[in-house]
C-alpha cells in the first residue's frame, strides 16, 4: 500500500553494476589473493606471509616515511599555494583571466609528459633550471639525482602540476564568501592581512577541507609521477608505498603486491577518514 518513492533505488543500479563488477569484485578477490603466493600462473596459499614479508621489506619503512612526507608536503603546499593564488586571482588584478588559465594549464598535460619534461629541466648539468641558476651564480643541485632531494623535487613538480586544481577549488570557495564579511571587517579596521587570516581563512574552510582531503588521498596514492620521474630512485630514496607495491607487482610478486595494496588502503583510510571526520566536524561547528 505504500506508494513508491520518487527517488527509486534502481537509479543506483547502472552505476552500481559497473562499479561492483569492475571494481568491487576484483578488489575483494584481491584481498584473498593477498594471502597467496600469486603470480600470473598460479596462487599458492601463503597465509599472512605476504604481510610479514611486506613489513620486513628493508625499504618499506623508507617508503612509508616517504609516502607520508610526500603526501603531507604536497597537500600542504597545494593548500597554502592554492589559497594564496586563489586570493590573488580573485582580487581583480590585471590579467586575472589569463593567469587563471595559465595556472590551470599544467593540469591538462599528461603525467608522462610532465615527467619527461621535468627530467630534462632538472638535469643536474644541462637542465634549464640549473643553467638558469648558474647564470646567477648558484650551483644548482642534482634535483633528481641527489638522494636527499629527489623526493622533494618530485613533490615540487607534483605541486606545480596540481596547484591549478586546488586554486580552482579555492576560487570557487572564495566566491561563496559574502562581501559583507570583508566590509564589516574593514569597518572594524582590519588590515588586508587581518582580513586574510581572520575572515578569508576561516570562511573558506569547506574548500580547504576539499583540497586537503583530495590532495592527501592523491598524494598517498601517487604513483605515476614518481614513476615517470625517478622510478623511486636514486636507489630507493624516492620510493613511496605505491611504487614499492608496483615494483613487487612488476617483479611478479603479485600476492605480495596485493598485500601492499591492502596495507596502502588501510593507511589511507586510517589517515583520511579521521581527518575528514575532524575537518567536517569543525566545519559543522563553524
Amino acid at each position: 500500500m505504500y506508494r513508491k518513492s520518487p527517488y527509486p533505488y534502481w537509479f543506483i543500479l547502472p552505476a552500481a553494476a559497473v562499479f561492483v563488477v569492475l571494481f568491487l569484485v576484483p578488489t575483494i578477490a584481491s584481498f584473498y589473493f593477498s594471502l597467496t603466493y600469486w603470480d600470473p600462473f598460479e596462487a599458492r596459499f601463503a597465509g599472512v606471509d605476504n604481510y610479514l614479508q611486506f613489513f620486513s621489506e628493508p625499504f618499506l619503512v623508507r617508503g612509508l616515511v616517504n609516502t607520508l612526507v610526500f603526501a603531507f608536503l604536497t597537500s600542504g603546499l597545494k593548500t597554502v599555494l592554492g589559497l594564496l593564488l586563489a586570493v590573488l586571482l580573485t582580487s581583480g588584478i590585471f590579467g586575472q583571466g589569463l593567469l587563471r588559465s595559465v595556472v590551470f594549464f599544467p593540469v591538462l598535460v599528461s603525467t608522462i609528459g610532465v615527467g619527461l619534461l621535468f627530467q630534462e629541466l632538472m638535469h643536474p648539468t644541462e637542465g634549464a633550471i640549473n643553467v638558469a641558476l648558474a647564470a646567477i651564480g648558484i650551483d644548482g643541485p642534482g634535483w633528481l639525482t641527489n638522494p636527499k632531494l629527489a623526493l622533494l623535487s618530485v613533490a615540487l613538480v607534483d605541486v606545480w602540476r596540481g596547484v591549478g586544481l586546488a586554486t580552482l577549488i579555492y576560487i570557487a570557495g572564495l566566491a561563496t564568501i559574502s562581501q559583507d564579511y570583508y566590509e564589516a571587517a574593514r569597518i572594524d579596521g582590519a588590515t588586508r592581512l587581518q582580513q586574510f587570516w581572520r575572515v578569508t581563512v576561516p570562511l573558506v574552510r569547506p574548500a580547504t577541507t576539499t583540497v586537503i582531503i583530495l590532495s592527501l588521498i592523491g598524494g598517498l596514492r601517487l604513483f605515476d609521477l614518481i614513476w615517470a620521474m625517478t622510478r623511486g630512485g636514486p636507489g630507493f630514496s624516492s620510493d613511496v608505498l605505491a611504487s614499492v607495491i608496483y615494483k613487487q607487482y612488476q617483479a611478479g610478486f603479485w600476492g605480495l603486491s596485493t598485500a601492499g595494496n591492502v596495507i596502502l588502503f588501510l593507511l589511507i583510510a586510517c589517515i583520511v577518514a579521521p581527518l575528514a571526520w575532524w575537518l567536517n566536524r569543525k566545519e559543522i561547528q563553524a
Binding site: P124, T145, P147, G235
Partner: protein, 402 residues
Amino acid sequence: QELTFLTDSSADSVAVTEALTAAYTAAHPDVTFSIETRPGGSEGDNIVKTRLATGEMSDLFIYNSGSLLQALRPDRTLLAIDDIPNFGLINDAFISTVQGSEGGTYGVPYETAQGGGIYYHKPTYEQLGLEIPKTWDAFMANNARIAEETEVAPIAQTYRETWTSQLFVLADYYNVQSEVPAFAEQYTANEAKYATTPAALRGFEKLQEAYEAGYFNEDFGAANYNDGVRMVATGEAAHYPMLTFAVGLFQQNHPDQMEDVGFFAQPGDSADENGLTVWMPTSLYAPRSTEHPEIAKDFLNFVASPEACDIITDTIGATGPYLIEGCTLPPEVPGMVADMLPYFEEEVRTAPALEFLSPVKGPALEQLTVEVGSGIRDAQSAAELYDKDVAKQARQLGLPNW
C-alpha cells in the same frame, strides 16, 4: 591469416621484427603480421606475464631467456618447438636457457649473443699509451691516469636508466665462476650468498671502489643510456660498462666514431683468468593459446635459419655471434664486435651470466647498484640486501630449501 606479434619498442627490435616478418610474408603471401609494441624493462615483463596468464598473448612474442623465462611457466604457457626442422641448428648452451623444468624447449634466438664488459675510447687509450687491462687493478690504474692527465671522465655511468647500473656486478660473473665454479648451483639451493662469498661480493665492491675514486661522469645520476654511449664514442668518457647490444646504438647515433670505441671483458683479480660474461639473446616464443600454432612454429623455424641471421645483419648490422649453426658474420664487423669475438673462440673464456644458470634473480638489484654507485650504500650491505631480495623470488617460485 594474420598473426599478431608483440615486440618491445626499441628501434632495433622493431626493425628486426619488421624485416623478418616482411621476409616471411614474401615467402608465404597468405600470412601477414600485425606488430604491436610494448615498453621494455620490467614494465614490459609484466605485460607479457599478464597477457600470457590471461590467455591474451599475441601469436608471437619476444622475451628474455634465462631466469626471467622461468617466471612465465613455459611448460604450461608456451608452445614447445623441439620438433621444428631447424632445431638442431640451435646452440646447445642457448637451448638450456629456454627450456622449462620439464625439458621442453620453447624459444629460438632472436638476435646475437651478447657480452657484458667495458667499452673504452681508443683515442684516449692511445693518447695516454694505456694497455687493455687484464686485472681490476690495472683497470683502476688506467682510470687513475685518465683522471689525472685528462679532462675525460674515466667511467661513464648512466643511472637515469637504472638497469645500466648493474653491469659491474652482472658482468663480473665470469670472475665469480672461475673462483667458485659451483656458485650458481649453491646459490639456487640457498647455500651460497652474495654477501658471504667474497668472489661474488667483488662485483659490488668494484662498483663501490669506482665511485669512491670519483671516476664517474659528473651527471651520472641523470645521464641515460644514450648519453653513456655518446660519452664513450666521443671521448667524454673513457669507459662505459655495457652489454654488446649497444653496438646498434653506436651505429645509429655515432656512425663516424665506430672505430674509436673498443671493448674488453670486465677484468677479474687475476690476469690469468680473463674472460667474458655472456648474455644469451632475447628469444622468440609462441604461446600455447595461439590459434595458428603451425604457422607460428614455421615462423620460429624460419627465424632459426641462417637466412634469418642474414636478414638481421642486413637490418641492424652485426652485434655479436649468432647462436644458430651456419650463421656467419660479415667479414667486416665493427671493431668493438671484433674485440668480443676472440672470447667466444675459446670455451673457457666465456661464462653465461648468472641469470642463465639460476632462476633466482632479485628485482631490486638495479636500485641497489644505483645506491652503491651513488655512494648511498656500501657494497657489503647492498649484497646483504640483495640476498634478502632474492629470497622473495625463490619463495615465489616455490624453490626447495628457501
